[in-house]
């Protein structure tokens, strides 16, 4: 099995999709000759040509809007938004058009557009380069949202998103682009369904639900907690819309405690949705309130203080302490 970084795995996933289906095409700013600012699309223009891998004009509404038109005409466009904070000029097209085309056409039209967005902090960048806007999109019906945390998932999710008849947003955890891991390019295995959560560490005393960039953080926290004799289960959510509540509830029924952590602000976030569902479906199993760990209600802070903003091992351990105090 080859070992590769998440960035390379996405590249390989895109390459496979381009190779298998000639209606697949990539569009975005600087994705061609340069290979993207993160080099995720490196080499694809050279191999598939400028008609399939397009350096678009600098206009996100244009990128998403024309992708919708191309999809209506039978193509499977994969649009890259260069950074999380720059998706908003295309927000209108994503939320009012892309998400709703299937339902407003009473199912006659499908728009299989994939949108790739590098997201999240921890790279020491400047304003608008470190945001986690997933909840804004998750709130919009009609979109599917996934986020890989390892190269194997990145490879498969990229292809699954492109193959999906619905619009899919892939939030790519940019600070993990260089994280390495094995990729089984023959068999997705447990990753065959992109919308299922994975238990990435088994435990019996508490559950920590995370996704994308925080998966390694939660695993490290679970490891630290094990030294204190606590057995922590870690769930990699993988899909933010739909959310695999069954997996979360099953885990909570086993452990009785739940922490949900994400980089995005807790207020109005995915964590609140999970907490609420779990309290509806597994109230009697809960030994403690569901605790959210996440960003604060502020614009993403300047780089030099982001380490205090981002949930780290200590913040997850502190939340576990609180859960165990009940």
């Amino acid at each position: 099995m080859p070992t590769m970084t998440i960035a390379k795995a996405i590249n390989a996933g895109l390459r496979a999709a381009l190779g298998q289906d000639e209606t697949v095409m990539l569009m975005g700013e600087d994705i061609g000759t340069l290979g993207g600012v993160y080099r995720v699309t490196e080499g694809l223009k050279a191999d598939f040509g400028g008609e399939r891998v397009i350096d678009s004009p600098l206009a996100e509404s244009g990128i998403i809007g024309t992708s919708i038109g191309l999809a209506l005409r039978g193509y499977r466009p994969v649009a890259e938004i260069q950074f999380d904070g720059f998706v908003f000029p295309g927000f209108n097209q994503i939320t009012t058009q892309l998400a709703k085309m299937h339902s407003r056409s009473k199912g006659q039209l499908t728009v299989p557009v994939t949108i790739r967005i590098p997201y999240g902090g921890g790279i020491g960048s400047i304003e608008h380069h470190s945001e986690s806007p997933e909840a804004l999109f998750a709130h919009t019906a009609g979109l599917r949202i996934v986020t890989p945390s390892n190269p194997h998932d990145a490879y498969w999710m990229t292809q699954q998103a492109i193959a999906c008849e619905d619009p899919v947003i892939i939030f790519e955890p940019k600070r993990r682009y260089w994280l390495k891991g094995e990729v089984d390019t023959e068999d997705p295995g447990a990753s065959a369904d992109p919308f299922r959560a994975h238990v990435v560490r088994e435990g019996t005393d508490a559950t920590v639900v995370v996704y994308g960039p925080l998966v390694p953080v939660a695993l490290a926290a679970a490891e630290a907690s094990a030294e204190d004799g606590r057995s922590i289960e870690v769930i990699d959510l993988r899909s933010i819309s739909p959310i695999d509540f069954d997996a979360v509830v099953a885990s909570v029924e086993k452990t009785g405690r739940l922490i949900v952590a994400h980089e995005a602000p807790t207020f109005g976030g995915i964590g609140g949705e999970i907490a609420s569902r779990v309290s509806e479906r597994a109230f009697l199993a809960l030994e403690a309130p569901v605790i959210r760990v996440g960003g604060f209600h502020m614009p993403y802070p300047v780089a030099k203080v982001e380490e205090h903003y981002l949930p780290d091992i200590d913040r997850i351990l502190e939340a576990l302490d609180r859960a165990f105090a009940y």
């Binding site: 908003f88 608008h128 964590g271 502020m298």
Partner: protein
């Protein structure tokens, strides 16, 4: 009969000048011809140009000042790039090559004008009196601004491309209203003093007493706005919508597009199949391409456009045709997408050496002057370095401030949680943190 179509004849522009500007509009390609130029590449002044008049009124001191500004910002830029390489800045956005476009246009603005930059306008910042250390704070990742835009008339940098352009038009519309209110007030003052309030309300519908206070006393001096953006950003919907508004309302705004040929790796041809300045006509206002490496031409064209805007004749699009000599940012590697031949050909058009030749040939500046400027540049660089090393990183607590202008319970709650959480590290044995996520 029928609808009266808006005219694309810009009758308010003196024929002579318009002919000169217009004559550059028909080369139909991205070529170098067809741009307003006052200094050729050898630094020879084209005194026959209509625009030469406004330059000839400049004192030798101002001409030397413009050179000094260009040299200062180039030196500062070089230093900032080095600081980034040494890990002192998270990122730097170099302006090398664009000094004439920035100093020429920046020095054409007046105190009452207001500037909306993107993120590369360090030269314009210098002309507006910004403390350059504030720019460094931003790229070190300890601040998102730092200067007071109300004092400097220089807005905060914007990282989301083109987002500032509609703001510029709105600000210009506000200036326009101020002028109307000021006129109304003058008229009222000449009439019965008791009716002042009514007249003011009538002149500014929707502006209640508090809104009037917010907008401040209408300024006496007519001003205009400059909106800076790049050739890449010109593709964003925000720019197009801004131009529609500016044209519809005849807003006193100058759109200043620095066409430095590249939007990261994408050449300007992908953004526009016609010379960019030609787009203005389609919206209903004049567009001009100026040699962006010729500080005198940029200065003259911008002065002309600003004066036109201030006098109520509406917007102008200036396309400063220039070249980004360095990388897009320090995170970029231009060798991946462009040829060094191209880079070399533009170095030959360098804005500083061209202006230096002119100043020397005219006897306006000599060796002693250039030596002084070089020494001053070194001092600016040394100060930049010292500033950066002295910077103190803020704490996360600072980021809780100013999220809202008025108190907000969620901020108070999260700040309290954060303080208690941090205090827990100071004394590991302190009580458990209070409830609530994070």
């Amino acid at each position: 009969m029928g609808v009266e179509l808006p005219t694309t004849e810009f009758s308010d522009i003196p024929d002579e000048l318009w002919l000169e500007l217009e004559s550059h509009a028909h080369d139909g390609a991205q070529g170098h011809a067809g741009q307003v130029q006052l200094l050729d590449e050898e630094g020879r002044f084209k005194s026959e140009s209509k625009l030469a008049q406004s330059i000839s009124t400049l004192s030798e001191d101002s001409l030397r000042g413009m050179y000094r500004d260009m040299a200062m910002i180039r030196r500062f830029d070089t230093e900032a790039t080095a600081l980034q390489r040494q890990g002192q800045l998270a990122l730097w956005v170099p302006l090398r090559g664009q000094e004439a476009a920035q100093i020429g246009s920046g020095t054409a603005t007046l105190a009452q004008d207001y500037v909306f930059p993107t993120y590369r306008e360090h030269g314009v910042a210098l002309t507006r009196g910004i403390d350059l250390a504030d720019l460094l704070r931003l790229f070190r990742g300890i601040s998102n601004g730092g200067w007071d835009p109300r004092i400097t008339g220089f807005h905060l940098y914007t990282l989301v491309l083109a987002a500032q352009v509609p703001h510029a038009v709105g600000y210009a519309m506000g200036m326009q209203r101020d002028a109307a209110r000021a006129a109304a007030q003058t008229a009222t003052a000449q009439g019965a003093a008791a009716q002042t309030a009514t007249a003011q309300a009538a002149a500014a519908p929707g502006a209640g007493p508090s809104a009037t206070a917010d907008a401040g006393a209408p300024s006496a001096e007519p001003g205009a706005v400059v909106a800076y953006f790049g050739d890449g950003a010109s593709s964003e919907g925000d720019v197009h919508e801004s131009m529609v508004f500016a044209a519809s309302f005849k807003a006193p705004v100058v759109f200043f597009c620095q066409n430095n040929q590249w939007a990261i790796s994408v050449p300007s041809e992908v953004q526009s199949r016609i010379p960019l300045f030609n787009r203005a006509k389609g919206y209903g206002f004049p567009g001009v391409r100026v040699d962006g490496n010729d500080v005198l031409a940029v200065r003259a064209v911008t002065e002309w456009a600003l004066e036109r805007a201030r006098s109520g004749k509406g917007p102008v699009l200036i396309e400063a045709y220039t070249y980004r000599q360095g990388a897009h940012t320090t995170a970029d590697d231009p060798t991946k997408y462009r040829l060094s031949d191209e880079e070399q050909s533009w170095v030959a058009k360098d804005p500083l050496s061209r202006f230096e030749k002119y100043l020397r040939a005219e006897g306006i500046a000599d060796d002693a002057f250039f030596a002084r400027v070089a020494a001053e540049g070194d001092a600016v660089a040394a100060k930049a370095r010292a500033d950066v090393l002295d910077f103190v990183a803020p704490s996360l607590e600072d980021s809780f401030r100013n999220v809202y202008a008025e108190p907000h319970p969620l901020i108070a709650e999260e700040l309290a949680w954060h303080r208690e959480y941090e205090a827990g590290f100071a004394d590991e044995n302190s009580g458990s943190a209070q409830e609530g996520g994070h």
